[in-house]
């Protein structure tokens, strides 16, 4: 119970999100209408992806400082889940955009940013697979991970705020919270963020455990 409370919390929060998201009450908004329900899925996936990326970089730095191979495994698996979340966020965003902006993939700096982000992390895995030696692979991919993260951050946080964007909170658009969200929505939105983020960590932890078991098995042989 002491170790698995966060998994129970995750399941409870996600069920709450799903039920509220599908049948809960939602404020009527022009253009948005019922699609506002997607705010429980699309936006938390982004928050989750950001958290996972930061975790990946964190373990990359830890690996460079300590040289413990387990940190490298953590780093790469967090990046893996971040790609998954990025793709899911992209898809949910495309569905949403199809009904509100009239185009699944309109020209928008944030969409460009996520496409670049997915490219960066795909390149990260190509880089990883091109090394045989464990330590070398860990060190070089950690260096690339940190470097890419530093180059990627301005793209996500600065550029969308300078150019025109369809997303709320960018380029002079008001943020979502100001007009569209009322307290009912917030009651679901914040738990949804926590729930989706925990789910990402959970998936990652399972994959990490699998890798560690595999590594130990090959070491035994």
């Amino acid at each position: 119970m002491r170790k698995s409370w966060w998994k129970i919390l995750c399941v409870v929060l996600l069920f709450y999100t799903l039920i509220q998201g599908l049948i809960g009450a939602i404020p009527r908004q022009p253009v948005l209408n019922e699609t506002l329900r997607n705010v429980y899925f699309h936006v938390p996936l982004w928050f989750g992806m950001m958290t996972l990326m930061v975790a990946s970089v964190w373990f990359g730095i830890k690996y460079l400082r300590g040289g413990n191979i387990q940190d490298d495994e953590f780093s790469s698996e967090f990046a893996n889940t971040a790609i998954l979340y990025g793709a899911l966020g992209f898809i949910t965003g495309a569905v949403w955009g199809n009904y509100t902006w009239g185009d699944p993939i309109p020209k928008d700096p944030k969409i460009i940013a996520v496409e670049v982000g997915l490219l960066i992390y795909s390149a990260y895995f190509v880089l990883r697979s091109s090394f045989e030696d464990e330590q070398k692979r860990g060190r070089l991919s950690a260096v690339y991970n940190i470097f890419a993260f530093a180059a990627f951050m301005p793209l996500v946080w600065i550029l969308p705020r300078m150019t025109d964007s369809l997303h709320p909170g960018n380029g002079g658009n008001p943020a979502f919270g100001k007009y569209d969200m009322d307290n009912r929505v917030r009651m679901v939105f914040y738990p949804a963020i926590i729930g989706w983020t925990i789910l990402g960590v959970w998936i990652t932890s399972l994959r990490i455990r699998l890798r560690i078991i595999k590594r130990l098995k090959t070491e035994q042989l």
């Binding site: 460079l64 960066i120 795909s122 070398k136 060190r139 470097f147 301005p154 300078m162």
Partner: protein
């Protein structure tokens, strides 16, 4: 400081001795521009200003990727080990970045001249465009030097170089094309301070990260 100067001097002397690499890069940029001239100017003689600008930066990007890739691969493993015992990693990365910036400046200014001669010159604010080329050279070389260092440790260096560097360099490229577009349109300096500041900020981030991370790379 002295170490950096000595290393830069070494790079320049090395480049000067094997002139084929430098000449190759120059010929590369000239022939690419010529291909563009053949396909745009000769046939239809219409080129939109936006296409003109983007084409120029794409040519420069590929030239930069090609010329900077070799900055770690042209020296053998034995010689790198020798440098490892002699110089500090910080000195090496800073000197390589400065040298590559100089190289990129030479290449891009010459490329610009050839490009203007062949494709016409729609630039309205020439000083601003030159500043843009300067910022672009600094940005390209700082980012690509570090990536070249990573890619040189793997086997398929040239493929890795492209896939690792393009996504990272995209934000910079977007800013540069935006800045150079306003330079083309002949807008004044005061409209572009934001872009210049952001470009300098990105350069500073990349430079400091390279400075911090290169020692780990150099060890292997």
């Amino acid at each position: 400081m002295q170490e950096i100067r000595a290393l830069i001097e070494k790079e320049i002397r090395l480049e000067w001795r094997q002139k084929y690499a430098l000449n190759g890069m120059l010929l590369y940029i000239v022939s690419t521009v010529f291909v563009c001239y053949m396909s745009f100017k000769l046939k239809v003689d219409i080129i939109e200003p936006i296409t003109w600008n983007t084409l120029f930066w794409i040519i420069l990007l590929f030239t930069a990727v090609n010329s900077i890739t070799k900055s770690f691969t042209q020296e053998g493993a034995g010689r790198q080990l020798y440098y490892y015992t002699l110089a500090s990693p910080q000195g090496i990365i800073i000197s390589k970045i400065i040298y590559n910036t100089l190289l990129m400046l030479v290449l891009s200014v010459l490329g610009f001249v050839v490009y203007v001669v062949m494709m016409g010159n729609p630039v309205g604010n020439l000083p601003l465009y030159l500043v843009c080329i300067l910022l672009g050279s600094i940005g390209f070389s700082t980012t690509l030097t570090m990536v070249a260092g990573i890619a040189s440790k793997a086997e398929n260096t040239s493929t890795l170089m492209a896939i690792l560097s393009f996504p990272i360099i995209l934000p910079m490229l977007m800013m540069i094309t935006k800045l150079s577009k306003s330079a083309m349109d002949g807008l004044g300096w005061e409209t572009s301070y934001d872009e210049i500041a952001i470009l300098l900020a990105i350069d500073a981030i990349v430079l400091s990260i390279s400075y911090l991370l290169f020692p780990y790379l150099w060890r292997s």
